[in-house]
Amino acid sequence: MTGRRSPRWSQWVIGAYLLLFFAYLFGPLLIMAVTAFNSSSFPRVSPWECLTFEWFVRLVEDQRLMQGLRNSLIIAFGVVVLSVAIGLAGALFLTQIAARSRAGTYTVFISPILMPGVVLGIATVLFWDRVAGSIGMAYGGLFYDGIFLTVLGQSCFIASYCLLVFLARLQRFDSQLIDAALDLGATNTQAFRRILLPFLKPAIGGAAVIAFLASFENYNTTVFTISFYNTFTVEVAQKVRLGIDPTISALAVIVIAISLVAALANEAGQSHQQRRLEGHGRGFVAFFTRNPAAVLAALAVGVIVVVLAFAVQHDPAACKARALEQRLERQQQYQPATPAPAAPTQSAPAAPGARDLNPGQGSFGDVFRGGLAPGSTPTPEPTPAPTPDTRSLNPGQGMFGDVFGGGLAPGTTPAPESHEGDSEE
């Protein structure tokens, strides 16, 4: 297990383990991505029905999701600015205080990372509620505003991430450079701007990226602070809990594609930088020679373009009609024998007969079973649409049913028209 001298079998074991591990990491994402192209309205790989791109179209047409995306970007921008500024200040502060108080201060500064996100979200909402109350701010004022609260709640712990990035960079800073600049006549501000800031520039970029990603994908804190707005992630979570349909897979495909290209581009840029320092050539061609990451990145972009071009003129209608026929045939075969192999074993709210006729609908019931606490009545069930396709066209109304269902504690009275339902409108 430790290098060249290990016997061959142990290398096999380790190799197999790593393979398994990365299969665990990438397998779910891959499967999810594939389901985005299957016309089956329940995200699945098999049985494969038809190649389709309709889920992507659905995704882009989803107004709430797009509104959430806008809010997410606004929030992420605020969080990036605030967290990077705070994290930088915290790191500079830590490097200047006496060694004996440094460990304690450091612990306080990183404690938000360890706090459960829900705690941070709750604390933020309650605190600003108190502040607003004590200064007599009317409901609807800034301190009740979901975007304001979310920026603050997220920045609380994202600033700690930024702090860690800056500290790591500052550890490699030679503080004598500042002394040298001062000695050569620079003022403190000049020394900071001309020496320390350029040194920290990569860290500022890194911290900003981390802050953006952390803000964009945050759910635990945001779900408490966001009030009647929604963010992309909160919206996606609600969709997922409402019912799994392949538009979410389509979304995942986009995210994965962006991540992959970004990762490859980043890797390519770094290795190019490396080789430029070693004195290799500059320019377009040099960027790709002996730089597999760059080639792969270019390839990935190429594949995306080709797929897009193909998608525009691809029409799965004929195939879908055939698939529907086959499905009906299959169901007629099965119906007399067993109550559908795919049927959940536990009691589901949806009637079994209806489920058998339409697998998409059946999976829908399955979702509810997972999310709902036993004993609570699934009252606000979304209007059972005749086909799953129309259901996802208008997710705004039906969504809340499951949101509440999933959160219900057994024994707590399910308020059929709880106030969040109203505020969500």
Binding site: M1, T2, A252, P341, R369, A409, A415
Partner: protein, 309 residues
Amino acid sequence: MAKRSWLGGFLDRNGQALGLYILLAVSFWLLFLIILPQLAMIDFSLRHDLPAAQQGGPQDVWTFENYRHFIFGLPGNPDGWNRLDVGVFGRTIVAAAFVTILNLVICYPVAYYLAQVARGRQARVMAVALVVPYWVNEILRAFAFRIIFGATGVINSTLLTLGIIDLPIDFIRADIALYAGLGYAYVLLMVFPLYNAIESLDRNQIEAARDLGAPWWRIHTRIVLPFAKPGITSGCTMVFMLAAGALAAPQILGGPSNLWFTQLIYGQFFESVNWPRGAAYAIILLVACTLLVLLVMRLFKVRLGEIGK
């Protein structure tokens, strides 16, 4: 070296503008984002749940009612204690600990390989491969597991096709999907602290131990593991705290009868609309997790300052 106030010295060293920026940003963070919100939450948790009109009125007095409710439940509860909430709490802590240990076991070989065996491009590709899945949204990752473990998901349909089972296995109800999803969610947070710790171990120590005839498992138990202790503690602390405080994964992957404690808190806020009790439950979660982590650290003799490197 003449006597000057600390503040004066600080402003001198950084210049007025930069010094003020540092002090203001840090105090804003500490006061308005960390300390005061926590205090407000404690204050809330010690209040009765009153309609807005009565807040600040004669009935608005401090009380331990919310904490009492967590332990004993509603007045007249025949059990004598709040079987439901305490049960959910206990199960959450145990499950989070289980996920943490599972994660440690899964990630240790990978971290070790990355730190001591992999070299050059292979190591870099591995590191990137570890990070990229985490650019994908937490919700989407949970969703992927939902697809895989669903009744008609990949695993069930594969097993059905192969004829290994006759009826789909309910992975969701058995919480298998939840554990797999939570473990998945925090792989990165476990691998990197472990990697950092193991990476600084001098390879020669391993070589020396091997020369002295130590079998591979003894090299790990006697040399690598003790050396990586700060990293292990750091990784486990983060994974445990985040798993115990997870909300999205339990909401999406959790079984219908097994609630996560954060879901109770969520319920207090959004269904019962009882903010004081929700605040009290949040504090119970925070304090219990912190105490548990501190206890484990004391047992393994690791200091808090070593976390988060």
